[in-house]
């Protein structure tokens, strides 16, 4: 584990060195680290945000100094507290409750999945096989970012890996389900994007009027279910 300043008001904790060897284990380590840091309630910490193999700790330096951090070594003071918090990490690992996977209904018709044909051609399958493989797997949310509520999902079948488009689209509709490299994800709001869109869900992935504002959070398990156009329309109306 390595702790590096991310500017003068945040620390980046690199939890895992070899993410690709075991992405699932990396995710568990990251989440356990996040929970242990939250439980430690270190003074001056503003927020804690996980990513693939790192956890970022944002802090307010004057508040940390008021709480006893020496002004000439705020980082060292935090490092010690982070290490203390993580020495108890193992106890919190086993306590996580396994939630059932969240089911995401997706209409894979060409009108919504405007890159499905292209993806099928590139991976050498027909469109139905692509949909079957996409709905047949279970995924986990590795992190949320890009735009509010965008889940980066690991667990895509390797047969479906498709590079991002050379030129990103200026506008991808909200709810678009897409493949980018070895990952799949869902665009929560209308935004530009470079992933290959294969379908659309009627579910709302981001709603700022709710707290938390997202449908999916890091660690959640996800499955896709293929729906027909009329079910899509019933769900959105």
């Amino acid at each position: 584990m390595e702790i590096i300043p991310l500017g003068d008001s945040a620390l980046l904790i690199r939890v895992i060195e070899n993410f690709d060897d075991a992405p699932g284990r990396a995710l568990n380590r990251v989440l356990a680290t996040k929970h242990a840091l939250e439980a430690a309630e270190i003074p001056g910490v503003v927020e804690i945000a996980p990513a693939y193999a790192t956890v970022a700790v944002f802090y307010d330096p004057p508040r940390a100094i008021d709480a006893g951090a020496p002004s000439e070594n705020v980082v060292g003071w935090f490092e010690r507290r982070v290490h203390d918090a993580l020495s108890n990490e193992k106890s919190s690992l086993g306590e996580r409750i396994e939630k059932p996977p969240v089911e995401i209904p997706v209409c894979y018709e060409t009108e919504f999945g405007f890159d499905l044909e292209e993806v099928a051609r590139r991976v050498g399958l027909d469109q139905k096989e692509v949909v079957d493989l996409h709905t047949g797997a279970e995924y986990r949310v590795h992190c949320v970012g890009f735009t509010g509520g965008f889940p980066f999902l690991g667990g895509l079948r390797s047969e479906l890996a498709t590079p991002r488009r050379d030129v990103p689209r200026k506008e991808i509709p909200a709810g678009s389900v897409a493949i980018g490299g070895k990952q799949t994800g869902i665009y929560p709001i209308k935004s530009p994007g470079g992933w290959n869109v294969i379908g659309r869900t009627p579910l709302k992935l981001f709603d700022p009027r709710k707290n938390p504002p997202v449908l999916l959070r890091a660690g959640d398990r996800v499955r896709f279910r293929s729906i027909a156009r009329d079910e899509f329309e019933r769900s959105t109306s």
């Binding site: 980046l12 927020e47 945000a49 000439e72 705020v74 970012g145 735009t147 959070r217």
Partner: protein, 328 residues
């Protein structure tokens, strides 16, 4: 009572100190790009320092208030008037009901923050009144103000009422904060930074160029980040990293070698290596950079960065105490 935007200007949005606490859901910090400027402006008018105000980009704003208000602003070298009288940055001023208040063009810098006594009254969304313009929520209907629109203001707090009374003749208070708080734009801007969290991913020449050369601000800069042109900063490898947190002040370098200085509306995570992080107390200078401006970078230690930030906080506390005199 309301304010009316007779002219909304190029890009005017409601902003406060942003919405920390939602990064894990991919929600940007947002808020005033120069948080310190908004805090100072709010204190000047008798508001809580976190009250919502207006962020004005490139000016062109003309306002009218439904009742008497104290206003205060900090930012670039803008021409600001009440009727025909000029109001300098950092001075609280009384605007009578129906008078026109305008933030015109700027001769240096591109943004200003305006505090109005009572604050702008828009709904709190995810803990902030600030507009997230990229995602389209918060602030005033999730978007910039438009010509002719009316926006609600909070009631004048008692302190502002005292100031309205005290300034009824003079109109403009003579007191002001330190010059670099009210007028952060610089003719020859140098941004101090600490070592980047991925500095070992850059060739030695990249570090030499970054600290030795000047960079030009590109026209496609916005609230997400300032894109810089100049010498190409060579990375040791082409591949990007596994996405990890970035923050306002982070200087990241995409494969084309042209650095991007991230600001408050940046994404919460990114995969480009980070060559530097501009220190918090220099972000006000950064947010005034206009397309075509040149900027240099200078490395300091994180201990120095913290000392500077602590000193500014202590000075702000002193300034806050000094202001009490005028609210009596």
């Amino acid at each position: 009572m309301n304010l009316t935007a007779i002219r909304a200007g190029f890009l005017t949005s409601v902003q406060d100190l942003g919405r920390p606490g939602f990064r894990e859901y991919g929600v940007s910090l947002g808020g005033a790009l120069d948080r310190h400027a908004l805090r100072v402006a709010n204190l000047l008018v008798g508001n809580d320092e976190s009250a919502a105000g207006l962020e004005i980009t490139l000016g062109g704003l003309r306002l009218r208030f439904g009742d008497d208000r104290i206003v205060g602003w900090c930012g670039g070298e803008f021409k600001v008037r009440i009727g025909t009288a000029s109001v300098d940055a950092g001075h609280p001023a009384l605007v009578r009901a129906g008078e026109e208040f305008s933030i015109e063009s700027s001769s240096l810098g591109c943004r200003a923050w305006l505090a109005i006594s009572g604050g702008v009254d828009v709904p709190l969304v995810l803990g902030s009144c600030g507009a997230d313009l990229r995602a389209g929520f918060g602030g005033f209907n999730g978007r910039p103000l438009r010509d002719g629109e009316e926006v609600r203001l909070g009631d004048n707090p008692t302190r502002a009422k005292v100031l309205i009374d005290n300034l009824r003749v003079e109109r403009i208070g003579r007191w002001k904060p330190p010059h670099d708080w009210s007028n952060p734009a610089r003719r020859v801007p140098t941004l101090r930074h600490i070592r980047g969290s991925d500095s070992d991913r850059f060739a030695e020449t990249a570090h030499q160029l970054f600290s030795g050369e000047s960079f030009s601000v590109s026209a496609d800069s916005d609230r997400m980040g300032i894109r810089l042109g100049g010498p190409m900063l060579e990375r040791k490898e082409d591949a990007d990293l596994l996405s990890e947190a970035v923050a306002p002040g982070t200087v990241q370098v995409p494969p084309n070698g042209k650095p991007i200085l991230l600001l408050n509306d940046c994404q919460t995570i990114g995969g480009y290596p980070k060559i530097a992080h501009v220190i918090t107390v220099d972000l006000p200078v950064a947010t005034q950079l206009c397309p075509g401006d040149r900027v240099r970078f200078f490395e300091i230690s994180i201990g120095e960065a913290h000392a500077l930030l602590l000193e500014r906080e202590r000075n702000l506390e002193q300034f806050r105490r000094g202001l009490e005199l005028h609210f009596k």
